[in-house]
């Protein structure tokens, strides 16, 4: 579970990137995070993961406050950042083991997971090479694998599907469903409304740092009294006044 209460964040005191955001991502559900470019999705996610400090407000993950007990809170989640270009000079295998060491994953367990994950993402032949030699999608995959290797209960993914091929994208979506079905938490941002519509139990729509709407797909339709597609509703909601 992720809880944000009255979170504010502005960059250099001018651009208000997150504006009094209150949001609860419950267990056992997949929550999609939507909003136009520059709406504040990445900023919100960075605040949740402790990468950025908010100006005010509180954030708890599985009930643990990220600012009071940062290490315990960080062990709860796995984070896929929006840009997978990191640790480029490590080999895929070394990166996975590095992540496993950071999260204290025991040897035999990580071995099994490396095998399973590299198989499902078809990365077996790449793990011996430096991440630098990977394509964008492969980098995305290795970062996702680095999260899954420590099997966190909360998944926080910033545009995870970008650059994935259909099969890997499908694999990831199945994994997200299974994870939520097992009573755990999935929170991810995306620009692909079809994915959100099909995959998410709930969607949160944010614009200019403000939460515009938060609810299930049914609630959204009811709210707007329409059978419109999510796309129409989204466009209307985020239209500039």
């Amino acid at each position: 579970m992720i809880e944000l209460v009255n979170v504010n964040k502005s960059y250099s005191g001018i651009v208000k990137a997150v504006d009094d955001l209150t949001l609860t991502v419950p267990e056992g559900q997949i929550v999609g995070f939507l909003g136009p470019n520059g709406a504040g999705k990445t900023t919100t996610i960075k605040i949740i993961t402790g990468v950025l400090t908010p100006d005010s407000g509180s954030i708890t993950i599985n009930g643990i406050d990220i600012r009071e007990r940062p290490l315990d809170a960080k062990r709860q989640f796995g984070y896929v950042p929006d840009n997978p270009d990191m640790f480029l000079r490590l080999k895929g295998m070394e990166y996975l083991n590095f992540m496993a060491d950071m999260y204290n994953v025991e040897s035999s367990l990580r071995m099994r997971r490396i095998q399973e994950l590299s198989e499902s993402f078809e990365m077996e032949a790449a793990l011996n090479d430096q991440i630098q030699s990977y394509s964008h999608g492969m980098r995305q995959k290795i970062v996702i694998m680095g999260v899954l290797i420590h099997d966190p209960s909360v998944w926080i993914l910033d545009e995870p599907m970008t650059g994935l091929d259909p099969k890997s994208s499908f694999t990831l979506k199945e994994m997200m469903k299974n994870h939520a079905a097992a009573g755990k938490t999935v929170f991810f941002s995306t620009h692909v409304l079809e994915v959100a519509e099909k995959l998410c139990d709930k969607v949160a729509i944010i614009n200019k740092g403000k939460l515009m709407f938060y609810g299930t797909m049914d609630e959204i339709r009811e709210h707007f009294r329409s059978n419109e597609s999510l796309e129409k509703i989204f466009l209307e909601l985020t239209e500039n006044e």
Partner: protein, 557 residues
């Protein structure tokens, strides 16, 4: 031409040469400006000293009418420095720089990119020159009561002087890098290429200095000097041959002869630039294309490999190993932070092998060491050198800066900042140990140093290594340089490294000075070092675990 100017302007803007331009608005910029001023202040005594030396040198040499020597030596040494630094700069700006990737698709001629990059590199060389050549020119001008034309010429020559040596450095680097296009493992080849260029530079350097010293016997030199009339300047030759025109221009700044020499100098520069452009047009892109390619085998891992690499490691050691892996595998980091630690023996042995006479003098040094006082000095020196070597590798002082835009990864990993700081410090310490050990072993091979003294030196050195690493990372935590577009900038153009070097000379210098001044014995020297730096290291450790952690928390990702 137009596109060249636009390109150069953009590159210079991106460069943030003095680290002064605010990257993000906020209070940290005041710190940034302060630290820049501090470093200039640190160089000021040196610049004043050089200027003073030039002035007194003028008064002595003008007696025998050889005052041109001052300028001649100034220009020669500056050219040499420009050339030597140029090799590094060219490698980083022409090749390692990330903007290359975005420039290649643009409809630009290789020469346009090359010339823009050359100009940007020149600006860096002006910084080098400012510290060394500017005081000499000014000192000479004041001493000779020169008129405004002298200063005008000085400025022109200051601007034009680095062109020739930098072209040499560029051509050498470009030739070496031209082959990388052929290599399979580009990273490794780039490292080897870097080493080759560096060794070439050292070899040329020794060759030049040897020419200067041996081509003329002492008697010949004396005769030459007795001729007066700045006869020395006329003998200036070698690869920086055009420098004599520069000197003549300044010596005769009030006469037409000076103007003619100035024009000659400028013409030579222009000629070389044109040659450089036409050469660069054909070889530059050969090395640049595919700079970002990495080798890939795409080979399945075996069960055994999986098992071996999947051994669980404690967080601290896993993190330290990651740091070291990145240092060894990133060409820019390898060149600047790692390589030197292994090369010290070479640098010690090379001159000795070239000049065997000096071996004999070393033997006399040996008897000096066996005497108790001598060994105290050796111990103190070994301690000072260990701290200095550790600071020159720059690993600790750039540990945060090297993260660059990936600094955010440090923030979400469930690893305490203290552990991360210590892992980064440990990577610096371990390479400091390598550098110090290789230095001690090389010394032991040539000097009759008793074993106990070696051990004692290693023990004292460890205090210096830890001190320098802790101080370095504390500096980098305070002023991290996270915004860079090529890795070289994180380590080479990082003032934190320079600052740490200054600190690592000054503070360890105190006990060295005391123990020599007070005529301490070996053991007293060792005790003094162990006591003072034991306490200092502990103090730094506790600062890092409290204030250091807070600084890390506050770094904006």
């Amino acid at each position: 031409m137009n596109r060249y100017i636009i390109l150069t302007r953009i590159m210079l803007k991106n460069l943030n040469l003095l680290n002064l331009r605010p990257v993000k608005s906020g209070k940290s910029n005041i710190k940034r400006i302060l630290i820049t001023l501090l470093i200039f202040a640190a160089f000021l005594p040196m610049m004043l000293g050089i200027g003073n030396l030039a002035m007194s040198g003028y008064h002595v040499l003008s007696e025998i009418r050889q005052e041109g020597m001052i300028l001649g030596i100034g220009f020669s040494l500056s050219s040499l420095a420009v050339f030597f630094f140029g090799i590094f700069y060219v490698m980083s700006f022409f090749y390692y720089s990330r903007d290359i990737e975005s420039l290649l698709p643009l409809p630009l001629k290789p020469s346009e990119i090359l010339l823009a990059k050359f100009t940007v590199t020149l600006f860096y060389e002006y910084l080098t020159e400012a510290i060394f050549l500017a005081p000499i020119l000014t000192g000479f001008g004041i001493a000779s009561k020169a008129g405004p034309v002298y200063y005008l010429y000085s400025i022109l020559l200051f601007i034009a002087l680095p062109i020739l040596p930098l072209i040499y450095a560029s051509v050498i680097s470009m030739s070496v890098m031209g082959f990388t296009g052929l290599a399979k493992n580009k990273d490794r080849f780039r490292i080897v290429g870097g080493i080759a260029a560096m060794i070439l530079a050292v070899a040329i350097n020794t060759y030049i200095t040897k020419l200067g010293s041996s081509s003329m016997s002492a008697r010949e030199l004396q005769e030459l000097l007795e001729q007066g009339n700045n006869s020395y300047v006329k003998t200036m030759s070698g690869i920086f041959f055009s420098n004599r025109f520069a000197v003549m221009a300044l010596l005769n700044s009030e006469a037409l002869k000076g103007f003619v020499n100035l024009i000659l100098f400028v013409l030579i520069c222009i000629l070389f630039i044109m040659l450089f452009i036409s050469l660069g047009e054909s070889i530059y892109f050969k090395g640049v294309a595919g700079m970002s390619e990495a080798s890939a085998k795409r080979r399945m891992f075996s069960e055994m490999e999986l098992e071996r690499s999947s051994k669980q490691k404690p967080t601290l050691s896993a993190y330290t190993i990651k740091e070291l892996k990145l240092l060894f595998r990133t060409p820019a980091y390898f060149m600047n932070c790692i390589l030197m630690n292994f090369l010290y023996p070479v640098f010690i042995m090379l001159p000795l092998l070239i000049q065997p006479d000096e071996m004999k003098e070393l033997q006399t040094l040996g008897t000096y060491i066996e005497d108790g006082r001598g060994s105290a000095v050796v111990l103190a020196a070994a301690f000072g050198i260990s701290a200095f070597i550790t600071s020159t590798n720059g690993i600790a002082a750039s540990a945060i800066s090297r993260e660059g835009s990936n600094i955010f990864t440090c923030k979400y990993l469930p690893v305490s900042y203290k552990t991360q700081i210590m892992a980064k410090a440990l990577s610096g310490i371990s390479m400091g140990v390598v550098g110090t050990l290789s230095m001690l072993l090389a010394a032991a091979a040539f000097l009759p140093v008793p074993a106990y003294l070696l051990l004692l030196s290693a023990a004292a050195g460890s205090f210096g290594i830890v001190f320098s690493s802790f101080a370095g990372i504390l500096i980098d935590l305070s002023f991290p340089k996270l915004i860079w577009d090529n890795e070289q900038k994180a380590v080479k153009q990082n003032f934190n490294v320079v600052l740490n070097m200054l600190i690592s000379i000054l503070i360890p210098g105190i006990p060295i000075f005391i123990s020599i001044a007070l005529r301490f014995t070996v053991w007293m020297t060792f005790l003094a070092i162990a006591l003072i730096f034991g306490i200092l290291d502990l103090l730094l450790y506790s600062i890092l675990s409290t204030a250091g952690v807070r600084l890390f928390e506050r770094i904006d990702a």
